[in-house]
């Protein structure tokens, strides 16, 4: 509120804010990339890897869900396409995941366009409902065509030992650095899209689709472009997930929880920010991994319960997300002496 008191002040402060944003995002990224130097256990390194993985997927979801407010509850479909493409290519055709992951991304783009053309006729809640149904349809089909997908037994990757050319590494730290590289790529994509013409068009659609159309924006084309990029990013996450976890089945691939998590991290981090979703994942993934380790049996539901409460609280109290809130804190910190 305070930065909009006088227009003459708000212009330089906005430029300053952009710098502050980059500085803050880089600081957090450095904190994450340095994780191997300060985390002691393999479990902690695994969490850091998952942070990067879910951060990537959440950034991907946000390109469409956050920037354009097209809420997809079915983005796990792209995760599944990425994971299954990589896995089936490796198991059936012995194709290296280094090619399998890009193949999965490409296929996810095609699937995304196939899904987007009919479903983008729907607005608001209806788009969310339609994408949710697609998730269920995918789950049913992948379970049914078991000769192709392994059905409920899922896919288990062969143990290859040390074969980096087949995405099989000696030390867990290598998986971490690959995931971190993936997230840096997603962050760059997120910032590029936000600052590009596409980003402006998406925000116009978010503010007022009718006005955007009147201003000459091709709604379908803009949304499809964002969906294609978004699908590719999420599919990369799916491909990596399979290599890291080594197992996938229809229920874990087409999980509503995966879809919700992508959106959840973005909302908690801040959907209008290019780095907010990564921040959300960095905060929530460790929380959820540690609580699921500590709380077992009857107490196990308390972890997801806290998740749901946090989601409601952020929506009611901090609807712009924590990235925005951190930026405010940062600005106050730098300005307070003056």
């Amino acid at each position: 509120m305070s930065d909009s008191v006088a227009p003459s002040l708000s212009v330089p402060s906005r430029r300053g804010r952009r710098g502050a944003e980059v500085a803050l995002a880089l600081a957090l990224l450095a904190l994450l990339l340095a994780a191997p130097f300060y985390v002691g256990t393999e479990f902690a390194l695994r969490i850091a890897t998952l942070c990067c993985l879910f951060g990537t997927m959440s950034l991907g979801w946000n390109l469409l869900g956050g920037y354009a407010n097209q809420i997809s509850l079915g983005h796990a479909v792209f995760f599944a396409v990425g994971a299954y493409t990589t896995g089936l290519l490796e198991i059936d055709l012995h194709v290296t995941p280094w090619l399998g992951i890009p193949a999965g991304m490409g296929l996810a783009v095609l699937v995304g366009i196939g899904i987007g053309i009919p479903t983008f006729r729907l607005a608001g809640h209806y788009f969310a409902l339609g994408t949710l149904a697609l998730l269920q349809i995918g789950d049913i089909l992948f379970t049914y065509y078991r000769q192709f997908t392994g059905g409920t037994l899922g896919l288990t990757l062969p143990i290859l030992g040390y074969r980096p050319e087949m995405f099989s590494f000696k030390y867990p730290i290598w998986y971490f650095y690959v995931a971190a590289g993936m997230m840096v790529g997603a962050l760059l994509a997120s910032r590029l899209v936000l600052r590009s013409g596409l980003g402006y068009r998406l925000r116009a659609i978010k503010e007022n689709p009718l006005a955007a159309q009147l201003a000459g924006i091709d709604l379908l084309r803009t949304k499809l472009t964002a969906l294609a990029i978004s699908a590719a990013v999420v599919a990369a996450g799916g491909g990596f997930y399979l290599q890291f976890i080594q197992f996938i089945d229809p229920d874990s691939a087409f999980s509503f929880q995966t879809s919700i998590n992508m959106a959840l991290f973005a909302i908690i981090g801040g959907v209008n920010s290019w780095w907010g979703p990564a921040l959300g994942a960095m905060l929530l993934v460790p929380l959820s991994e540690y609580t699921s380790l500590q709380l077992t049996g009857r107490l196990a539901p308390l972890g997801p319960l806290a998740y749901g409460l946090l989601l409601i609280l952020v929506i009611l109290l901090r609807p712009r997300g924590l990235a925005e809130w951190l930026l405010r804190l940062w600005e106050r910190l730098w300005r307070s002496p003056a």
């Binding site: 349809i137 319960l305 749901g308």
Partner: protein
Amino acid sequence: MALYQALLNGLLIGGVYALISIGLTLVFGVMDIVNFAQGEFLMIGMFLAFFAHQLFGLDPLVASVGAGLLVFALGVLVERVIIDPIIEAPPLAQIFATVGLSIVLSNAAAAAFGNEYHGVTTPYGAVSVPLPGAHLSLSYLLAFACAAVAASLLYLFLNWTDLGRAMRATAQNRNAAVLLGINPRAMYMLAFGLGVGLAGFAGAVILPYTVAYPAIGSQFVLIMYTVVVLGGLGSVRGAAVAGLVIGVVQSVSTVFLATELQNLVVFVIFVAALILVPGGVLQNVRLRRA
């Protein structure tokens, strides 16, 4: 013969789908909110009936009225605390507020009651009524009858009482209703309470032929949306008819298709209905809402 039997079962189950979906469509019609937690209120109704049976020996059908009223009260409270602040918010906040609510409710139930199946044994649970060429399960029949009574009462309420008319007026045109002296926020509270209360009631009446567990809400989620979309968003009569149709489609498709594919037909109908409704879904809402 199997087809005839499936048709009858489908109709009976469809009656309950209709009732749950009427609750959802009412909330949508009046408030423009899709309640993603509707299935969880059904689950709460089931658990209330289960505990009424365990603690007081009440039959679920007797307890259903009390369960419906308690869930109604919970719904009013939830509307005040969570829904009212986001009623004008963008879809992102609206969708994830109720998604968050569904996560909270199902996990709270899991923490409190455990993930085991909770069922009750009733004197009529295993009774079947012979018909020429088929037989009806008495518990299906009773659940259907309860759902039909509740739906009829709601219909009378909406059409013949001032409060019901005020609620329909709010659904048709919020601003005009305000000008006529109707307090829309009171209507939202009442509509949300009624909408989830119906689900709670439905949960209690189906307990004799199914089991309660914390995640059962998710079983009904897409079926409810399918019914609501097919019937025309916001249309109570449409939801009643579409509920029966979906019950029959689901039941009959098990005769022809593998068990794994049971719900596929329903979901495909759902996506097709969403996309193919002439003139787009949104316009249809405006026309049909009365």
